[in-house]
């Protein structure tokens, strides 16, 4: 995300959680406003232009999803991240994700939260027009669906290519395992095994094996980040 549009509205009634969220997001360069309940959220949300709004699902006055719907009715288009202590096996969650909004289950790691917020904020950014994406000496051809490093082809299965493409499109940003499952496999639940790591491990061997420098980096406890050195 670029430019001055890094303003976030956090709707959270627990003071400690709210404090942590504000601190973390501020540290990551966001300008953060806080609303402690649904009504405040409605007035603040309509008053300013936010890049992303995070809403706790269980607020003292109005249900978080209702707040979100109300904001939409009021013409607020900012993507919403619903944060909830309730589980994920719910059609409403699926509806949220299909609608471009997101859902995060409590407790969560801040790295995961940041990754989701970044991804949501980017939603409105301009779509990449190039057909070949480059990171360092890696080239990913979106038309022929092939990848190469220093001109040498990397043999990838279609799903492996999709994974690499997603990482490249999110160059320099943390991508969580849940985000990978969602965007590469279209699965809407958090993995309970290390299966993603094993899968990424294989892609990484193909991409980074016998190269001058690694591109795919593990972010401990969260997922991965693809970036060029320097």
């Amino acid at each position: 995300m670029t430019g001055g549009h890094r303003r976030i509205l956090v709707v959270e009634d627990d003071p400690e959680t709210a404090g942590q969220l504000v601190e973390q997001l501020t540290t990551s360069g966001y300008q953060v406003d806080l609303a402690a309940n649904g009504n405040e959220a409605l007035s603040q949300g309509a008053a300013s232009d936010y890049a992303v709004i995070t809403i706790d699902r269980m607020l003292p006055d109005i249900d978080g999803i209702t707040v979100m719907r109300q904001l939409r009715d009021d013409g607020v288009a900012a993507p919403v991240l619903i944060i909830s202590a309730l589980g994920e096996v719910d059609d409403r969650v699926r509806g949220l994700r299909a609608g471009g909004d997101d859902y995060l289950v409590k407790p969560f790691s801040f790295v995961e939260l940041l990754a989701r917020v970044e991804a949501l904020g980017r939603r409105s950014d301009t779509i990449v027009k190039e057909t070949i994406l480059r990171v360092g000496d890696l080239a990913v051809d979106l038309v022929s669906r092939t990848a190469s490093r220093r001109g040498k082809d990397i043999v990838l299965f279609p799903r492996e290519f999709q994974l690499l493409e997603y990482l490249v499109r999110n160059e320099g940003r943390v991508v969580s395992r849940a985000m990978l499952l969602r965007h590469v496999w279209d699965l809407h639940f958090d993995p309970s095994t290390n299966i993603i790591d094993v899968y990424v491990g294989r892609v990484r061997r193909k991409v980074d094996g016998q190269q001058a420098y690694p591109l795919i980096h593990t972010v401990r406890g969260i997922g991965y980040c693809l970036r060029a050195p320097g």
Partner: protein, 459 residues
Amino acid sequence: MLLAKTLRSTTFKLALIAIGTFGLIVSAILSYVYLSTSSYVRSRSDRAIMTEYLSLQGAYQQSGREGLIALLRQRIADTSFADNIYLLVDPSLVALAGNLSEWPSTVTAARGWTEFRAPEPLPGATTLPLLRAMLETFPNGDRLLVGRDITDLDSFADHIKTAVISLAALIFVLAGMASILVTRRTVGRIEAINATSRAIMLSGLDKRIPLRGTNDEWDRVAENLNLMLDRIETLMGEVKQVSDNVAHDLRTPLTRMRGRLEKAYHGPRVGEQDQALIGDTIADLDAVLRIFSSLSRIAQIETAARKGGFRSVNLTEIAGEVVELYDAAAEQDGTRLTIVGDSEVLVTGDRDLIFDAIANLVDNAIKHGRAGGQVVVANENIDGKPVISIADDGPGIPAHQYEHVFKRFYRLEHSRYTPGNGLGLSLVSAVARLHGARIELLDNSPGLKLRLWFSEPTS
């Protein structure tokens, strides 16, 4: 106590309403019978009196007082008119002719119908008879009374009335008694069920409702309630087992974390050490949270809140994606993971959940199969039913353990130290139940073959 309950019970109240309605109808019918019978009998008698009155009146008009007196004497002598009562008096009420000795003092009307008690008993009777008569006052003040003894008629009506009332009363009493008996029996059975329920609430789930062996509907109810209690008892046992296991599985990492933090709290701050300690603690916390998520996920699937997301999906396609996802893991393990079978096996279901279930099964097969062995995922339509089977060639599961492996946190002895939390198959079983699918465990000799029999897809 039982009687009080009987009288309060709904059955009894309904019975009372039924008896009341029925009784009213019966009373109405009997009253109608009574009224129509008595009015028929009375009208016959009235007609006879009227006929006689008209002929006597005619005689008076034709031949005057003397003619009437002569006719009256003739009538009294004639036995075929023995039932009739006659009296003709002059204006000062002195009897001129008739078989009644004097003008009854209660009769004052000039003409028309009257009923009265005779001043003296009729010959051969002891009681004063009830008479019904037609009166006439002639222009010269003479008064004529023509009547009949209606005592019998009256007592006949009385008999009918008594019969009707007693019959109605008898019906009420019998029906009342019958409903008390029936209700009492019902209340007795319900009371037995209530008593058992109270005992269960007070002491525990080991009590059962006694059966009477009559094989009636009450025994059916008791049987079903007992079956339900059995089920609840089993579930309670499982819940206890699960909470024990949750406690154990959570206590272990929590104890580790607590110990680590306590030691660090009392020790000196060492930047690098602290960093590692915090990292380890977060990892342990994540493990605990994963157990929580798995449990709540299984619970949510079990409450079947997700059938709305069901659509037609291709089992082969989902299995193919799972196999692709696990290909790397299998490769790492030296396991050969293959997929065989039909290219289209359609089921009605939730893609995410089916994916999760198959993923868990493949994960298990790779983990618990033989290192360097093979895992085969097969999709086929058997007798029109979509079936997916996952087979490994590892040590397998002893047949007597089959029923236990789907319990939450259940882990076979030899797999206690492989990674996992014993929730995978519980999730599979929850997903299968939501989809109405049957799980079959087979000996793959060697190894284990698990089959999921889905129901035929709904179009």
